[in-house]
């Protein structure tokens, strides 16, 4: 067990509303999310002396946040990056606090992903202007590859070809996560979705359709990491950081297209280190955050983490039953980036923090105090511990509670352990294991 396992906690999470057109700066959004995370934790802003963030040249930086919020930072560094950065910054943060660089760390991601710099199309103006192709782009942009769907459609086509599935396996991911989003009052997309809706949604880049793509959203998300010793004095049940990966890279990470097998995730190489460092068995994990920029991608991570064999991801999800909230491997309970919001993966982590607390912010009136009905038809999004779930697809059955750990006074226990796998592409991977 690594020496820092369980020494640090995520003590606060917060976000802005999820919007199509915020009409605000990324700085304004970041400040709101950080204030919300501090309030959630029960910390004063003056208690915060470390801030870090990631961006793709589309956001404010920590110095601006420190200026706007009047923080006196001992540590403020921004990194370039998208998918997997949340988990990587969590890893960096516990090391920074351990070594005394800061007493606590705020992580944020702020983006006007819809009204500002768009993932798919650069600027709000879309096309019309000359695009410069430098570096690797010299060999991709003139070949018509531009924007995330172009990258991920190549993986998706290869996956369907190699393993003989049809694209309904992608639809099951979309439909299942949409059901989760319907249990999430803050999710952007809650209208019902059927497999037929997925099949008939328009093509973006074949074989990816509109409902295979995550959203483009204006929003900010933040979380706060502090020593476990602080947690007992704070507002929320502590969520401990057990360990993680951040970031591991495959061979040829700058042009993965000449790898022998482009779908071979680096996760195969690093998963034993992840589970060993976190000192858990893969079956100990109650809930999962599987990076879902596009519907096929979680299938790759299930395989890479060893929950099923290579090429078995499409069957593993059991038409969505296995990855639904009451299945054996609940995936992206907020609705994820497909249906809740898009933050380069940050919201998949904050969701699992709330789930581990037993405070999923669902439609239950007592959610903030951890009072949940576990009735999905009444909008309850709180997951239960894996041992208290019955077989995939059916509802939660009140089972004997084998642990006196925090949870409702009767009925099933809250989840204990979460795993987030953060990555867009098989060429890299970050992860974090949390526990309550």
């Amino acid at each position: 067990v690594a020496s820092l396992t369980d020494k640090y906690c995520i003590v606060g999470v917060g976000e802005t509303a999820f919007m199509r057109d915020s009409g605000r700066t990324t700085l304004s959004l970041a400040c709101e999310a950080i204030k919300n995370a501090a309030a959630d934790a029960g910390l004063r802003l003056d208690d915060l002396d470390g801030v870090t963030s990631y961006n793709t040249n589309d956001s404010c930086v920590t110095a601006q946040v420190a200026h706007a919020l009047g923080l006196k930072l001992n540590y403020g560094v921004d990194i370039y990056g998208g998918a997997g950065a949340t988990e990587a910054l969590i890893a960096q943060s516990i090391g920074l606090i351990e070594q005394g660089y800061a007493r606590s760390m705020v992580l944020f991601r702020s983006m006007n992903g819809r009204s500002g710099n768009r993932k798919g199309g650069r600027s709000p103006a879309g096309g019309g202007s000359v695009v410069e192709a430098r570096g690797r782009s010299q060999f991709t942009v003139p070949a018509g590859l531009h924007g995330a769907p172009c990258d991920y459609a190549l993986y998706a086509a290869r996956y369907l070809y190699e393993h003989g599935y049809d694209s309904d396996i992608f639809g099951h991911v979309a439909v299942t996560q949409r059901r989760h989003a319907q249990l999430n009052p803050k999710a952007l997309r809650r209208e019902p979705m059927t497999l037929e809706d997925h099949r008939s949604s328009r093509w973006i880049v074949k074989p990816l359709r509109l409902f295979d793509c995550c959203q483009e959203v204006d929003n900010a998300v933040a979380l706060i990491i502090a020593p476990a010793s602080w947690a007992q004095d704070l507002r929320q049940p502590p969520v401990y950081i057990r360990g993680g990966i951040g970031r591991a890279w495959s061979e040829m990470p700058d042009f993965e297209w000449s790898r022998k097998e482009i779908l071979r995730s680096v996760g195969y190489r690093v998963r034993s280190r992840l589970f060993g460092q976190a000192d858990i068995h893969p079956d100990d994990v109650d809930i999962f955050g599987m990076y879902d920029c596009f519907t096929p991608n979680p299938l790759y991570w299930w395989e890479a983490m060893g929950y099923c064999g290579t090429g078995e991801g499409g069957a593993f999800i059991e038409k969505g039953a296995a990855i639904s909230i009451d299945g054996p491997y609940p995936q992206n309970l907020s609705g994820g980036q497909l249906s809740e919001t898009y933050t380069h993966g940050f919201n998949l982590v904050t969701e699992n923090v709330r789930q581990l607390r037993g405070r999923a912010d669902d439609w239950c009136p007592g959610a903030a105090e951890g009072v949940h009905s576990f009735d999905r038809d009444k909008g309850c999004r709180q997951a239960v511990a894996r041992r208290d779930r019955v077989s995939s697809g059916s509802g939660p059955a009140p089972g004997p509670r084998s642990s006196p750990a925090p949870g409702p006074r009767s009925g099933p226990a809250f989840p204990e352990i979460s795993l987030n796998v953060g990555t867009g592409s098989p060429r890299y991977l970050s992860a974090v294991v949390l526990r309550r």
């Binding site: 199509r20 057109d21 819809r114 798919g120 199309g121 650069r122 709000p124 879309g126 096309g127 019309g128 202007s129 000359v130 695009v131 410069e132 192709a133 430098r134 570096g135 690797r136 010299q138 060999f139 991709t140 942009v141 003139p142 070949a143 018509g144 590859l145 531009h146 924007g147 769907p149 172009c150 459609a153 190549l154 993986y155 086509a157 290869r158 369907l160 070809y161 049809d166 694209s167 099949r199 008939s200 949604s201 328009r202 093509w203 973006i204 880049v205 074949k206 074989p207 990816l208 359709r209 040829m252 042009f255 297209w257 000449s258 022998k260 482009i262």
Partner: protein
Amino acid sequence: MTAAQPPAAGSIDYGLISVVPDPDTEQWWAATAAGRLLVRQCDACGFRFFPPSPTCIRCRSTSLGWFESGGRGVVYSYETVVQPTLAAFAAAVPYSTALVELEDCANDDGTPVRIFGTVLGERGAEDEIGIGAIVEVVFELMGPSGLMIPRFRVVETPAGTWRITGHAANGPAGTLPKRL
């Protein structure tokens, strides 16, 4: 913004793409302008790779030469872009881009050399292109830049060539993303 004329239907407006060669790649672009498709070949260990890098990505030697490929290969993966994100391709949709494994460039350890190119043919050549199809390179002038870009033409579709299938009807061609 350029004052370029609207491109003809089905064509790529290369005037809206500015490729910027750098010291690692300028010889490669010079070769394509002469109709030659090069990949890097290490003088020390013989490893072939693409795109060009300043060091051999196997043995790290900086003594690098070039291998001239015949430009024939097998489609390893492909896609058909229906919704363009670049104005240069707005009139070209649907178009297909292929990831092509060059048949004469494979390394002794099995590491392939692959390269991207758009596929010649109407409406993305969707009835021809597929994983497993045999293609060959065709060089096309990139508008006013004078650079030549490799594209691919399908020359053979062996039995078992795999194509994307689906249920949905395509949206109208040539539309850029609409903003909500």
